[in-house]
Symmetry: C3
Subunit: 160 residues, 3 copies
């Protein structure tokens, strides 16, 4: 196994990338400017449907971690569709994680670790990103977690 190959790494981690649908409205799942790709906020899903729930009320922190991890896998799927080849990912730069929370739940960082750790697992040092996480009143369609991503991609001569 080539240790640089991300697809081998995904297989080793037992991660299968889902097929991502097109967005329902006048926007895109990923837009690239120069060598920086911006991924739209992706909603947590379970069994292919939006994972509805609120941390501190209907969902536990462990549910949230699972949800955040599944969003990270969906983000990888979107990146794969956009780039054609995930080996072009140079750095996971910035992650913003929005957690559907009661006014009492304060574990948004724990929930978000579900996504952060997946990127570290798959990309190693290149997966270490800056991030913000906080708890919001609601998320579209009642989803429990929404995560967006900024990624530096190799293009042209700087490709590793």
């Amino acid at each position: 196994m080539d240790r640089h190959d991300i697809y081998a790494k995904l297989e080793e981690c037992g991660i299968a990338l889902p097929n991502m649908g097109a967005p329902a409205a006048a926007y895109a799942m990923c837009v690239q400017s120069g060598n920086v790709a911006y991924l739209s906020g992706h909603l947590a899903k379970k069994d292919g449907k939006v994972w509805v729930g609120k941390l501190g009320a209907t969902l536990s922190a462990d549910d949230g971690i699972t949800a955040a991890r599944s969003v990270a896998i969906d983000l990888l799927a979107t990146l794969h569709t956009h780039l054609g080849d995930l080996n072009r990912v140079k750095r996971i730069v910035k992650l913003t994680s929005v957690v559907n929370s009661t006014a009492e739940f304060t574990g948004q960082h724990l929930v978000t670790n579900g996504a952060s750790e997946l990127f570290a697992e798959v990309f190693g040092e290149s997966g270490k990103h800056a991030r913000s996480a906080f708890g919001v009143a609601q998320i579209p369609l009642g989803a429990c977690v929404e995560i967006e991503l900024i990624v530096e991609v190799a293009c042209g001569s700087d490709r590793a």
Copy 2:
């Protein structure tokens, strides 16, 4: 009409750009780094005043759509002031839409379509952006919607 001219398109769409005031504090409405312009969160306004309200309580989703569309027009006005010429917009890259919401309102994506569709209308394919939308507890001055934007601009030799 030159189909590439954004001002002709705005006229065709019946959109007049307002005059945007300077920010009240130690910040700027738009800062450019390289060929990427970052626009501050713009608050929804109605009749020139902050449009106060909360989705799920005092405002309907239709109100929210109207508010988001009006914020998008204000963002265009800020871009016009910053760039001098809106034809220098190369791509609307990323939109973040923050909706003043009760814990029950889950239509932030519908509200945000009011802005997304305006950019698609005015810029066509170049207006298709990545985006995130979510519902928050409050927004400065009680505004119902706040939207920020990242835009790629043509500069120097890469100007179309």
Copy 3:
């Protein structure tokens, strides 16, 4: 005193940079892509511990301003650690300020001025940034304010 030296300016303003610890999880406090540095959301602290509280309930707007200012100093400390030399800061580009708020508190912009004004004080015109501020249901560990930052840094030949 060299008026361009940021450390002399910090001393003049009576600002001492704290030592910033490493993040607790699989992420980084600062990631740079090209000449743009992305700083993670930094939580407000008081006496070295997370400053817990909610604007509109347990904390006043003045508390919030003090908290935001202290986060801005922590962000400078992270930048200093990352860059080695704060004089390499070319522009404070974008600030996002998330304020732990009740559904009634509408002064997130006032709170955020505590951070915005510090950057203007330290960096002058280069400290003027685009920004967004809004109120959220909760923040990790119950912190009252969380702020993230995008900074343009001088590198190689474009260093002033």
